[in-house]
């Protein structure tokens, strides 16, 4: 194999470090939006009016049933037709966030349903308000199943970011392709891309473990 260290350090690394920043930002931003979006979708889906719950259910099913790449293209090429022109990175973050909102909604639902009905009933009997019931009783008890599942989605989102290279977002995959094409050398760029993904994955997994432990010991005990 023909590997050139000078090329690796002088050309590949600086551009890949910059690209890693884009990947990290896309991951964190999509994840945060998906956390909030998932909660909103779950609440809309549970809404007592069918005029709200039905379309939400259909929307979630639609999102889950179509490939993320198609949704990215869809937003990228269709939003401008509606007069909305966003930078590719923003469009991409939005697409990943919407897709994962639909998945997170299921995680929240499963988490809340895992809390026994008797807990709700005790809250009614004690006249605890709905808000307090959620905040103090239901959410703390639904975190143990929810947190690890959300952690998995964090890693999944991270691994979905290369799809953004299809709309020319300058994340790790896109940059490694560009470097390869510019210099007719793919070995270093693609290898470094792989190593970056591995290292960032490990960091993410470590952070998730920290959060899980924190929740286990501080909130749920």
């Amino acid at each position: 194999m023909d590997w050139r260290w000078d090329f690796t350090f002088e050309v590949v690394m600086p551009r890949m470090i910059e690209a890693a920043g884009v990947t990290a930002w896309a991951t964190v931003a999509s994840f945060c939006l998906a956390l909030v979006g998932g909660l909103i979708l779950m609440l809309l889906k549970q809404h007592r009016s069918v005029w709200i719950s039905r379309p939400t259910t259909e929307f979630i099913e639609f999102i889950r049933a179509t490939p993320l790449l198609v949704q990215i293209f869809f937003l990228f090429f269709l939003l401008p037709d509606f007069g909305i022109t966003l930078p590719p990175l923003t469009t991409g973050i939005l697409a990943i966030a919407i897709y994962n909102s639909a998945l997170c909604a299921e995680v929240y639902r499963a988490g809340f349903e895992a809390v026994p009905r008797g807990q709700w009933e005790a809250c009614v009997a004690l006249n605890i308000s709905t808000y307090r019931t959620f905040r103090d009783i239901i959410i703390p008890q639904s975190l143990p199943p929810i947190i690890p599942a959300l952690g998995n989605y964090f890693v999944a989102i991270f691994k979905e970011t290369p799809l953004l290279s299809f709309v020319a977002v300058a994340e790790i995959m896109q940059i490694s392709k560009l470097i390869g094409a510019e210099y007719y050398r793919f070995t270093e760029a693609v290898t470094i891309a792989g190593i970056f993904f591995l290292v960032m994955s490990l960091i993410a997994a470590f952070m998730i473990r920290q959060v899980e432990n924190f929740v286990k010991h501080r909130i749920v005990r």
Partner: protein, 258 residues
Amino acid sequence: MTDFAIQFDKVCKAYDDLDVLTDLDFAVRKGEVVTIMGPSGSGKTTVLRVLMTLEEIQDGVILVQDEPLNKMYKNGDLVDADKAHVRKIRSKIGMVFQNFNLFPHMTALGNCIEAPMYTKGLSKQEASEEAMKLLAMVGLADKANQYPSQLSGGQQQRVAIARSLCMHPEILLFDEPTSALDPEMVGEVLKVIRDLADSGRYTILLVTHQMGFAKEVSDRVCFIDGGKIVEENIPSEIFENPKTERLQQFLSKVLEAR
């Protein structure tokens, strides 16, 4: 004002197609201790759950201290009461469940102060002082900082009783409070309930299969079957001189089982 704490007037409750309560008329006077007995599936739990606003009724009227429970009169019509009204009525009622339903992520003390702190606006210290008194009353002052999983069933149920007393209810509902307990723990819970009954401060509605206990603490026993009260009387009459055939059958079956 009547001296009734609870009145059911032609109350109907069905789960989907299954009629559970059919035109149930039933009343409990203030300070009275009433036991509800009946075969499995006869609707005993349903009576308590309806009172606790855990279930909606399809027809009829329920009055709690002469006020409608979760319906209200507006211009002569009975309509759904607003939240504030329901909360006000509900605050008069406390319920103790068969499975305790303690909050597993909170200590015994935490369980007791959660509701008073936010619904009565007490400070943590005020709520804790009061809760400690009630935990001491049920004999668990030394377990205040234990989590439910660290307590025995009998202890958990006593915490649950203390928890509902912290809200100062006037009416207490007990749904088979000792059914989920090992036999050796039944006594400690019954003792607490007996003390509450003897204090005369509460109107108590008790569902239990503990015949001896029912006979001892209740002012009146209602035998319910098929969603209706079949026979009601003072305990000695119910147990020693049952009039209806259905009650006679029920009692002989229960006694046989022992």
